[in-house]
């Protein structure tokens, strides 16, 4: 093996980003690294390139253990990286970019002629004939990407990590880059390929490793996989028994309509969609990363203003121009990124819990301290928030407990409609099941819930109805018995949308 990773572990305060991950890379192999947001792909790459330092496990290159402290050190060891955004200087010439930092020198001065010749020779290996004296910015992104690859290979020469290299390229350009990658494979390099374009994974790669929630799910030969099973690996199938049981007793109960959204959309963000939420109903939003799940929720909650569409309840029209308006309408929203959008890290658990309620009452009517204490103690007990006291800064808690504090903030306000975006991401298994049980209890008490999740089993377990999104559109709606992993995955994988029942496309 060229590169061999064993039990790689990396923790951040509150989250376990990598949990004992194994990963192998052979010479002359293109190995895809896949996973949803937060699965641990970028953490793994940063541990390899020296941007992060691992907490546990081993990384061996050519059999020797390595622990790079910086990207420069990683390059010297033989590991080079090319990112989605070209990491070169557009106002320098092609030759200068290629030779930057290792220019051929004569009498201490840069030998321009030798530099040009060497740069030209480098590019010829990639089948490129360019004027190396022109500024890099004059060339297309694809050419720039290839030049970046050439530079990375020249600097390192053993392992090449391509992090979403094709994200801003068109089909013809992708082919150009792929030809270069194939050439490098023949020269015996090991290449790690990160992408969320599954077609490209099947076209280019030899093996696939899928990460989910910081754990390695599977490593397989690409040829042995089909699209469905790959999506299954990425979105998860097996879940705790307990959750399974919760989902099992669910009947196709009828829910009186509570909210209607019609034609809600925003250009370039999400196509206009209709959505009806019943009282006490759990609606799940399923889809791959970037399919428009979070964006749908943000439009409903007024985080981003909708350009089209309307909302109404049984009393009449609702104006959802801002989160404050949505809250006034009885909505709540626990966002996906707890750290930046959820908690207020330096404030105490008590203050975080009462924050929403206090904002709703207005600054002039402070919640009495005794009432604040009672609320905080109540939710710490009910949601089993593990802390040494209500006055501890919420930033010191683990990820699962932070999520519970955000939930407590909303529950304290007793909303009629609660949106939960990835409520279980990055939290441990115990807390995971607790949160799913909580959703169950809330809807039992009449609250309506919209759940967004990358984990299909989780959606199946909690949802009465699942809406499937693809390419920024709501493409299918599944209810009753159709709320099952296979049906959801088929809908995501553009499979079975022709089915009469599921194709209630919007």
């Amino acid at each position: 093996m060229l590169l061999s990773i064993r039990s790689l572990t990396k923790t951040f305060p509150g989250t376990l980003a990598l949990d004992g991950v194994d990963f192998d890379l052979a010479t002359g192999e293109v190995h895809a690294l896949l996973g949803e947001n937060g699965a641990g792909k970028s953490t793994l790459i940063k541990c390899l390139t020296g941007a992060y330092h691992r907490d546990g496990g081993t990384v061996a290159l050519d059999g020797a253990e390595i622990a790079p402290r910086s990207t420069v050190e990683a390059q010297e060891l033989g590991i080079g990286t090319v990112y989605q955004e070209v990491n070169l200087l557009p106002n320098l010439t092609v030759a200068q970019n290629l030779m930057f930092g290792r220019e051929p020198r004569r009498f201490g001065l840069i030998n321009t002629r030798a530099m040009r010749a060497e740069a030209r020779e480098m590019l010829r290996q990639y089948g490129l004939e360019l004027d190396v004296d022109r500024d890099l910015g004059n060339y297309s992104v694809a050419i720039q990407q290839i030049i970046a690859i050439a530079r990375a290979v020249a600097l390192s020469g053993k392992v090449l990590i391509l992090d979403e290299p094709t994200a801003s390229l068109d089909a013809r350009e992708v082919e150009m880059v792929f030809d270069v990658v194939r050439g490098l494979r023949e020269r015996g390099l090991g290449i790690v390929f990160v992408s969320h374009f599954l077609d490209q994974v099947f076209e280019l790669t030899d093996r696939v490793t899928v990460l989910r929630n910081g754990r390695k799910i599977v490593t397989e030969r690409t040829a042995d996989l089909d699209r469905m099973s790959l999506i299954e690996h990425m979105l998860g199938r097996a879940l705790e028994e307990e959750v399974e049981q919760q989902g099992a007793g669910k009947a196709a109960a009828t829910h009186p309509d509570l909210l209607h959204f019609e034609g809600v959309g925003r250009h370039g963000v999400i196509e206009p969609f209709d959505l009806t939420i019943g009282q006490g109903e759990v609606v799940g939003l399923a889809g791959l990363l970037g399919s428009g799940r979070t964006e749908s929720a943000e439009l409903i909650f007024g985080v981003r203003p909708a350009q089209t569409g309307s909302a109404r309840d049984e009393k009449g029209a609702l104006d959802l121009k801002s989160p404050r308006a949505a809250i006034a309408a009885g909505f709540g929203f626990a966002p996906e990124d707890r750290k930046t959008d959820g908690i207020v890290a330096d404030l105490s658990i008590r203050e975080n819990i009462v924050l929403g309620l206090q904002a709703q009452r207005g600054w002039a009517r402070p919640i009495p301290r005794a009432e604040q204490n009672r609320l905080a103690e109540d939710y710490i007990r009910r949601l089993d928030i593990r802390t040494s006291g209500r006055e501890k800064p919420v930033g010191d808690l683990s990820g699962g407990n932070q999520q519970k504090v955000v939930l407590a903030r909303w529950l304290a306000m007793n909303p009629r409609f609660l949106i939960l975006d990835e409520p279980t991401r990055g939290i441990d298994v115990g807390a995971h099941a607790e949160i799913l049980r909580l959703i169950h209890d809330l809807t039992g008490a009449g609250m309506s819930v919209l759940v967004i999740s990358s984990e299909i089993e989780e959606l199946v377990a909690v949802s009465d109805r699942v809406i499937v999104l693809r390419d920024r559109r709501h493409v299918a709606e599944l209810r009753g018995e159709r709320v099952a992993p296979d049906a959801i995955m088929r809908a995501i994988a553009r499979d079975g949308t022709g089915d009469g029942e599921t194709a209630r496309c919007c």
Binding site: P323, V344, L355, A364
Partner: protein, 337 residues
């Protein structure tokens, strides 16, 4: 809890008073003449008024992760407005109201630039800082606009119950704002906005209005400071009124242990910071050093205070003390066996 928060500032102030008393033994003398208290300490309370008033507003702005560089200039504008109104015979109450209105408008301008347009606070308030002195000069027509109005001059040099009016102004403003922050929910909402504006807005906090409000508060505090300074010299000096005072105000907030990154704040500690700065200034004047040393001495003292307050030094100190205690205990253990 409260005492623990302001302990570093109290200790610094006490140490500073001790130091000044060593150089100028009469520093703590207070006498009572013609119904007014007289003495260096009273001077500190009076002369510290502009920076203390600015520090009240600046604390709120900094708590939202902002900064208000325009307060010194706003002082000049408000002083000029007040002096102009008095000189044009509008009378005391309209003059004061106009000056406060000018401060409020200046704050509103800053607040809109920061909260609605989305310009960085440093740059947004720099605009008024640069432009405002020109506005003040237009009002005073480039000269020192003097007036003779005992009622207005009272705000600069009058006394109530023996204490100078400027001292009363900042004591009451400071206490009033501090109470408002802690007795209402404003304190917590401002802190939440400063720590994480996006999360606060998603939780329903009206962050935009709060941001505008703190800049308006800062503008009103600057207006009060401008009134004090103008009333004190019975004239509006557009060129020099409040010049560089924004920096002293920021310094007072920082000496008060408030983080420039926003979040938790203490107005009381910032006021102590203002007193520390003024004690240094008055101490230097009383000590009679040559003028060339003024700024060097001030900078050195501020540096010492900030270094002693730095969390890292405090942590090192705790570790050192713990290790000392541990080794002492180990020693005692050994001698026992």
């Amino acid at each position: 809890m409260l005492l623990k928060r302001i302990a570093p500032q109290l200790i610094a102030l006490a140490a500073l008073v001790l130091l000044v008393t060593l150089v100028y033994p009469g520093f703590l003398d207070i006498s009572f003449n013609d119904g007014r208290l007289v003495g260096p300490v009273v001077d500190v309370l009076k002369r510290g008024a502009p920076v203390a008033l600015l520090a009240v507003g600046m604390t709120l702005v900094i708590a939202t992760r902002g900064i208000d560089l325009s307060v010194g200039t706003t002082m000049a504008i408000c002083g000029a407005v007040a002096a102009w109104a008095i000189a044009s015979g509008w009378g005391l109450a309209p003059a004061l109201l106009l000056a406060l209105a000018a401060g409020g408008i200046a704050g509103l301008w800053n607040g809109l630039l920061v909260a609605v347009v989305g310009i960085q606070p440093f740059v947004a308030t720099l605009i008024l800082m640069t432009m405002g002195r020109g506005i003040a000069q237009l009002i005073t027509e480039g000269r020192i606009l003097t007036f003779n109005h005992p009622g207005f001059a009272f705000f600069g040099s009058g006394t109530i119950l023996g204490l100078p009016v400027p001292a009363w102004l900042w004591l009451l403003t400071g206490a009033g704002v501090a109470l408002l922050m802690r007795r209402s929910a404003l304190g917590m909402l401002i802190e939440a906005t400063g720590i994480n504006r996006r999360a606060s807005a998603l939780a329903g906090v009206n962050a935009t209005v709060l941001l505008i409000a703190v800049y308006v508060a800062s503008g009103l505090c600057a207006a009060l400071a401008g009134i004090v300074v103008t009333a004190d010299i019975r004239g509006a000096d557009a060129n020099n009124s409040g010049l560089w005072l924004e920096l002293d105000a920021i310094l007072a907030v920082v000496i008060g242990g408030n983080s420039l990154l926003g979040g938790r704040f203490s107005i009381l500690a910032a006021l102590l910071g203002a007193l520390i700065i003024q004690t240094i200034d008055t101490g230097i004047l009383l000590a009679g050093f040559p003028s060339e040393y003024n700024l060097v001495i001030k900078a050195a003292l501020v540096l010492v205070i900030l270094v002693l307050q730095s969390p890292r030094i405090a942590a090192e100190w705790r570790i050192w003390r713990k290790s000392q205690r541990a080794s002492r205990e180990a020693l005692a253990e050994r001698s026992r066996t």
